[in-house]
């Protein structure tokens, strides 16, 4: 954590609680301001900036992460709700230098243009990759319907996710 980012903060002791949580397998215990959202904590405190602030209103999906394995808009999760939770962000997908198959699939199928929505889409697709079920294109689309891409690279995003699922099945 970069201490300079919080050193100046105006004293908000009344609102702060020490909270324990796990991000990408690493345990944190932080004194955090209860007014902050999980997205702010990830971006400003942990400097994990893969999740983006596209609207801060839960309308665009650019901040999508996993909370105990469930897809959430991290801008809609208040700090108080992450106590003892297991959080996974896009930064936690690749292992050492090896990309996750979903990440590879997005590269192979040109699943991103400006890339601002890409981490959110990949995290929204993650449970599909983990699922044992065989999914139709329509089901893939439904699972990603909460994420906006203003470049409208939707065709390549569908291709990317379908490709990742196919690779997994064939393995």
């Amino acid at each position: 954590m970069d201490s300079h980012l919080t050193s100046d903060r105006v004293d908000m002791d009344d609102n702060e609680t020490t909270t324990k949580f796990i991000v990408n397998g690493r345990e944190y215990s932080l004194k955090i301001d209860n007014r902050y959202t999980l997205l702010d904590i990830l971006r400003d405190h942990l400097r994990l900036t893969g999740a983006k602030k596209g609207c801060d209103l839960g309308e665009c999906g650019a901040c999508t992460v996993l909370l105990d394995g469930k897809v959430v808009n991290s801008c809609q999760i208040l700090a108080a709700r992450i106590k003892d939770k297991d959080i996974r962000t896009v930064e936690g997908l690749s292992q050492n230098e090896t990309l996750h198959p979903l990440q590879l699939a997005f590269i192979e199928n040109d699943g991103g243009q400006c890339g601002y929505c890409t981490p959110g889409f990949i995290m929204a697709a993650y449970p599909l990759f983990e699922s044992e079920e065989e999914l139709s294109t329509e089901e893939i689309k439904l699972s990603l319907a909460g994420n906006l891409c203003r470049c409208n690279a939707y065709g390549s995003i569908i291709d990317s996710v379908a490709y990742a699922l196919e690779i997994k099945t064939n393995e």
């Binding site: 300079h4 980012l5 999740a51 309308e59 990440q103 601002y116 689309k141 319907a145 906006l148 409208n152």
Partner: protein, 753 residues
């Protein structure tokens, strides 16, 4: 020669986008992701009034608040300008959301708290939220020059429309409107500025770092040499992300406080203080002979530029180009008016005015073909502009480059495969069956429609590129343009690599920093493949010569004849070779800089295309479902098919928002934007994404780099008229006002009964 061709060309292959890995890993850095030590956070106070004079601002309580470092107001900022009609801050506010004051504080919460403590005394002025009210002579002027920009319309014409209409057997006319269409890029505007006492560094989403540097210099009264602009990854902008106060305000706060300052707009602010596509009202008229020949085209467009001018003059001009040039016709006239209103500012947005102009023109063409009792496709085959260009006399002097938006006749195109596009699209959609579609009983009606377009083909301003063979035996392409997500860096690498005769993986790209790159045009007007491509090719050619010359001595040959580059180094016909590493170790790194102004003195360089759609209309709900969508483009040679296809599919889907959904609504009584959020400003999601088949015409442009022409914006031009024409075919209802919402479809059907 045969030995030299052992290199596998990269041009024409789907080489993987060079910057995608960082984007999937989440490590690609966007402006808002960057943090500096001791950084302050800024927040803007915005006007609640659509039009008002600021008589005074009380900032005492705000500045006394803990952690507040500075407050900018119209009364304490320097006199510089961000744009000709936009001071750094102004004592007149012109739309709800206009900047009034800016606070810099230790964190965003303190900045917001300080904003609440600022007391502004406004003198509220009369306002107008639409062009018709603004043009009323009794209307209050929004700028000192009045509400009609330049006091009159832009007029472009060829031949005499009076003669043209006199020759006509029929005249067909109509009027059309298009909505305030917001790009709403997912990344809101942001800027981070850092002043070190002598030099300013600004990080911002940018489509032209060198142009942004000059804007900052002129606004702040600094020498451009004392400014560096850095363009991190950009969450897109589609042309819209410039000309705003954001970076200038952050820079000024940093200079005044001596600390780095970050200003991030929130989503609502991005809607209000960003830039939207100009809404338009167009009256258009076409003269026709009985045999279908077009004798005259005349259109008048009124565009709403909102509170400020931005790139309005360019947009209003481009809206006329289809009207002036898509159909072979001796007598054409376009008049474009640009009007101020007290609404958020309109500016550049992918394809500028072309979608608006083509919506009117291509809807009217379908009407014309109906009057002639002619198939709409046959009407286009008969009248589309051909490779020979327009009738008339060339007016550009022979020694000058032909404009990519010409009015004159007598100049041929460098390439024009519009006819091929029409044929390929008709085949792919199955146009032959159009007259025989049978609708089953029930509410669903099926229809097929099409439209075509013309657009500038890529030549832009002067473009520079620098390329080097480095110490590690690899190459670096040093360029000042910005890849804003369209993939220009990837295609430019492909072109440079092929010119050198080496694999693209051996070429790195370095960009995004004004100190480290030569000047380049903005990412605008679909120019990069063409302009930056030519510059990179020229630099690569020069580098190749320089490398061969350097290796002559090293190999011990007296003549460069027969030397060529391979992935391993320089080789001679006789089998001598030297590796790139050995070359740089002996001769040092080699660097070349090329400067080109691409274009042609003999030909118009334009891109073309035709789109076709088959749709189903539910006559009970007004819902339109796209069954099949075919986009055929003549963009010359395609450098990277996968990226090109992505541009077309994305562009078409983006314009489904314009066609069906998106309209930024301004309350006429208060000037307040009613839907400045993603929830209320509905955009296409993955659920609305239709299957889009992309076809590239077989075309190689003799002027373009590797035969390529423009592609970034062209996909956005034809979707709306294509769907509107299909709707008419399906139902007999022609809707002249976008977007084609279920409500408007139902209402139009009701009126038909």
């Amino acid at each position: 020669m045969s030995e030299q061709s052992t290199h596998t060309p990269a041009v024409g292959t789907s080489y993987i986008r060079t910057d995608l890995e960082g984007k999937v890993l989440g490590t690609a850095e966007y402006t808002a992701d960057i943090a500096l030590p001791n950084m302050l956070h800024a927040r803007v106070l915005r006007s609640p009034h659509p039009h008002a004079n600021i008589l005074g601002i009380e900032i005492g309580s705000a500045t006394k608040l803990d952690g507040v470092f500075d407050v900018l107001t119209p009364f304490n900022v320097p006199e510089g300008k961000v744009a000709p009609d936009v001071p750094i801050l102004d004592s007149r506010v012109r739309f709800v959301g206009d900047e009034v004051a800016v606070v810099a504080a230790v964190d965003i919460d303190q900045a917001k708290a300080a904003i609440d403590l600022i007391d502004v005394c406004y003198e509220v002025l009369p306002f107008s939220t639409n062009v018709h009210d603004s043009l009323n002579s009794a209307s209050f002027p929004i700028h000192s020059e009045g509400n009609l920009v330049n006091g009159g319309p832009l007029i472009e014409s060829r031949g005499s429309i009076k003669e043209g209409f006199d020759q006509a057997d029929y005249v067909v006319e109509d009027s059309f409107t298009t909505p305030d269409h917001h790009p709403a890029s997912l990344e809101p505007r942001a800027a981070l500025a850092s002043w070190d006492g002598t030099r300013l560094t600004v990080w911002k989403p940018s489509r032209g770092i060198h142009a942004d540097k000059n804007i900052l210099a002129s606004a702040l009264g600094l020498s451009p040499n004392n400014i560096a602009v850095v363009g991190p990854a950009m969450g897109a902008g589609y042309g819209s992300k410039d000309e705003t106060r954001t970076s200038v305000m952050a820079a000024l706060l940093s200079i005044r406080t001596g600390r780095p300052v970050k200003l991030e707009l929130d989503r609502e602010e991005e809607f209000l203080a960003g830039r939207r596509r100009h809404s338009t009202y167009t009256e258009i008229k076409m003269g026709l002979k009985k045999d279908g020949t077009i004798t005259a085209v005349h259109a008048k467009t009124i565009m709403d530029t909102g509170a400020y001018l931005s790139s309005g003059p360019g947009v209003v001009r481009r809206a006329g180009q289809g009207i002036l040039y898509l159909y072979k016709c001796a007598n054409v006239k376009y008049e474009g008016q640009l009007v101020y209103t007290n609404t958020p500012t309109a500016g550049s947005y992918r394809a500028l005015g072309a979608p608006q102009g083509h919506f009117a023109l291509e809807s009217l063409s379908d009407k014309a073909s109906e009057i002639l009792n002619m198939d709409p496709l046959e009407f286009r085959f008969k009248n589309h502009v051909g490779p020979e260009g327009q009738p008339g006399e060339r007016t550009t002097p022979r020694n000058q480059i032909i404009d990519t938006q010409p009015v004159e006749g007598g100049v041929p195109f460098s390439s024009n495969e519009l006819r091929q596009c029409l044929k390929l699209g008709a085949e792919a959609i199955g146009w032959d069956r159009r007259d025989y579609i049978e609708n089953a009983a029930g509410p669903i009606r099926r229809g097929i429609g099409m439209s075509m377009f013309i657009y500038r083909g890529g030549p832009g301003g002067q473009s520079n590129a620098e390329i080097s063979l480095d110490q590690d035996g690899l190459f670096t392409l040093n360029v000042g343009f910005m890849d804003v997500g369209e993939g220009s860096s990837t295609v430019v690498i492909q072109m440079a690599a092929d010119t050198l005769g080496i694999p693209p993986a051996m070429v790195r790209i370095n960009g995004g920093h004004t100190d480290k790159t030569p000047e380049s045009p903005m990412t605008a007007g679909s120019t990069l493949t063409f302009s930056a491509g030519h510059a990179a090719m020229q630099a690569a050619k020069d580098l190749k010569d320089a490398i061969i010359n350097a290796s002559l001595k090293l190999i011990g040959l007296g003549d460069s004849e027969g030397l060529y580059l391979t992935p391993n180094g320089v080789k001679s016909k006789c089998g001598e070779s030297i590796s790139f590493l050995d070359i740089v170790h002996n001769a040092g790194p080699i660097k070349t800089l090329a400067s080109v102004t691409p274009g042609s003195k003999d030909y118009i360089v334009n891109s073309f295309g035709a789109h076709f759609a088959e749709i189903e209309v539910d006559t009970e709900t007004g819902h339109i479902e796209i069954i099949k969508y075919i986009a055929v483009h003549d963009s010359g040679r395609i450098i990277n098919p996968r990226l090109a296809e992505g541009q077309v599919r994305g562009g078409v889907s983006q314009m489904m928002g314009f066609t069906f959904l998106e309209d930024m609504e301004i309350d006429p009584h208060s000037g307040v934007a009613l839907n400045a959020s993603f929830l209320e400003h509905k955009s296409p999601t993955i659920m609305e994404y239709p299957e889009i088949e992309v076809i590239f015409a077989d075309s190689i442009d003799p002027i373009g780099p590797f035969g390529a022409k423009s592609l970034g914006e062209p996909p956005c031009i034809a979707p709306a008229p294509t769907i509107a024409n299909a709707l008419y075919h399906a139902t007999g209802v022609r809707i002249n006002d976008l977007p084609l919402t279920p409500d408007s479809v139902l209402l139009a059907m009701k009126n038909l009964l």
